[in-house]
């Protein structure tokens, strides 16, 4: 079998397993959304009651029948999956708009937060690991202490601290997130840049600490090898050694977990977004899941699952690039 056919078969297998994973994730999502007592109509009745309106049992039953809530969850699942194949993500009961429209409205901010968080995590992790390589014992100990502190503080605590600090000092007005729903212009960009660093810092916090430790460990293994010692003793500069020898093996463990990183960031997003008031898909997921908006929840979970799978694919590509020429790359 030639190399092209082998890669094609490997690609088809990868696509099939990704498709299967998506199906399983979506089935679980439909099951989980139906688990809590009450449905969307119960929530609707409760909201109407708060406004002084009474919804009768007949009206409620009629609404349930209209939304299809009297049918089994499996029917919803199959109908929705069939719709997804034709680009129809269903209708959001809460927003009374097509799910795709609601998702697309918040997708740019979500992607910006996710992308910038991933870039920040990787760039800063490399910087910290390089600092470890070049720094003396005092700086190393300081970095160790900082990393351990960072690892033990959860993201939402960082978010709460930032909210407190920013609102008490008046540096940043967190209510300005709503301005991002306006047309893109100079003022939009100014608001975006003044706010975007807050979720990025919060979400990258623990991943940054974890990866800087992982990269440091990989660097420690690499710099104990004979070639590194021999080249250092010959006088080859540490920068040359880093660039030409140590950087690639040092990054491999971290790059291999890119898919998990995306999953970790997306898992933290709903809580962090709820605290920071970020208008992204994370906060929307909290709203839709708690109100029982089935199709919107499913749509957001599908987007998140696809992002995780995309992260895994990017990780595979990066690993191929990093191991090119090495025995791992040659075999894989």
């Amino acid at each position: 079998m030639d190399k092209v056919s082998s890669r094609l078969i490997s690609g088809v297998r990868g696509f099939a397993s990704a498709l299967l994973a998506l199906l399983i994730i979506m089935a679980i999502t439909f099951l989980v959304v139906a688990l809590p007592p009450g449905d969307f109509v119960d929530g609707y009745i409760s909201k109407r009651a708060q406004g002084g309106f009474v919804v009768t049992k007949d009206e409620a039953d009629a609404l349930r029948a209209q939304l299809g809530l009297d049918q089994p969850q499996a029917v919803h699942f199959l109908r929705w999956m069939g719709g997804v194949l034709t680009g129809d993500f269903g209708y959001s009961w809460e927003f009374r708009r097509p799910v795709l429209d609601v998702i697309l409205e918040r997708a740019p901010i979500t992607f910006a937060i996710l992308g910038l968080t991933a870039v920040a995590v990787y760039a800063l992790s490399i910087a910290v690991a390089v600092a470890y390589l070049f720094a003396g014992p005092l700086v190393t100990r300081l970095l160790d202490a900082f990393a351990l502190t960072g690892l033990s503080v959860p993201n939402f605590i960082i978010a709460l601290c930032l909210v407190y600090l920013l609102s008490s000092s008046g540096w940043v007005d967190l209510s300005r997130w709503s301005m991002l729903s306006q047309q893109v212009g100079l003022s939009w960009w100014s608001t975006f840049l003044s706010l975007i660093w807050i979720p990025v810092l919060t979400l990258s916090w623990s991943s940054l600490m974890l990866h800087s430790r992982t990269i440091r460990a990989a660097a420690a293994v690499e710099t104990a090898k004979d070639y590194y010692i021999s080249l250092r003793l010959i006088g080859v500069g540490r920068l040359t050694l880093l660039r030409g020898y140590v950087l690639r093996p040092m990054l491999i463990p971290t790059v291999s977990t890119l898919g998990w990183d995306v999953a970790a960031i997306l898992s933290a997003t709903p809580v962090v977004s709820a605290i920071l008031g970020t208008p992204d898909l994370g906060s929307l997921l909290v709203t839709s899941a708690s109100s029982g908006d089935l199709y919107l929840t499913a749509g957001i979970v599908l987007v998140f699952a696809m992002l995780v799978l995309a992260g895994t694919q990017v990780s595979r590509i990066l690993l191929r690039v990093l191991t090119r020429g090495s025995v791992t790359g040659a075999s894989g």
Binding site: I234, Y245, A330
Partner: protein
């Protein structure tokens, strides 16, 4: 350049915690002859000595070192050793005992040779040719494609091309068959003739020749061995060689 006649280890202490691994005072390594062979049992501390003299002390060890080269008392380096020490020496080069990590698997062997080559030094192919490994310096050959013996020979080529006046070669012939061992020693002699280098080689096997000086090492002394006496037993400590 006048070839130095000896290396003087004025003081060398290497400790792991409270345990002393090597303790040499005013020990003399005669390098008048092209090849000095340190012939001592495993565990005597040959590798530690070579590494420390070349400027490397692994993590976990501490101590101090004061080494001079030649009759003009030219200091090589004197340093207190804490943590992991790297002292880049102008004069000494270290060829590690062969292992899978002698070369990086992420860079072609040719690139790795070019990284260390001095512009005024010999071309890697010139040294590699007589050793039968010149073809491995093509652009796309990597360390995982070559054997242990080839790795040893290329590590030797790299050290010779990187400058320096004395090469400390740690068991460089241990992975070679008798023919290649003879070629390696011939290459050493050629480098002595062409480049004025000196070689200090650690070996478990006897190396013979009129141009070979043989010494033995214990953790507290370095002693020349008479040609007809053979290596004498020394009281070694339980340390990694």
């Amino acid at each position: 350049m006048i070839s130095p006649s000896e290396i003087t280890v004025r003081r060398l202490r290497l400790r792991a915690g409270h345990r002393t691994l090597l303790a040499l005072d005013d020990a003399r390594l005669p390098i008048e002859k092209p090849l000095l062979v340190i012939h001592a049992p495993s565990g005597t501390g040959k590798s530690l000595l070579f590494r420390a003299l070349c400027g490397y002390v692994p993590r976990g060890l501490a101590g101090e070192v004061d080494v001079a080269l030649g009759s003009n008392d030219e200091a090589v380096y004197a340093s207190a050793l804490h943590r992991e020490t790297f002292h880049v020496s102008r004069n000494f080069r270290y060829v590690a005992q062969s292992s899978a990590n002698t070369f990086s698997p992420f860079r072609s062997l040719r690139r790795q040779m070019l990284d260390v080559r001095r512009t005024d030094g010999p071309r890697p192919e010139e040294i590699a040719g007589p050793l039968g490994v010149a073809r491995l310096l093509a652009d796309d050959v990597y360390s995982y494609e070559i054997s242990t013996g080839q790795t040893q020979r290329l590590a030797f080529v790299r050290a010779v091309c990187s400058g320096g006046r004395v090469l400390f070669c740690d068991e460089i012939t241990s992975g070679l068959d008798p023919d290649n061992e003879a070629r390696m020693l011939d290459a050493c002699r050629q480098a002595v003739a062409d480049l004025g280098l000196r070689f200090v080689i650690s070996s478990h096997r006897p190396v013979e020749g009129v141009d070979v000086e043989v010494c033995t090492l214990s953790p507290t002394t370095i002693v020349p061995i008479a040609k007809d006496a053979g290596p004498r037993p020394v009281a070694g400590q339980e340390i990694g060689s």
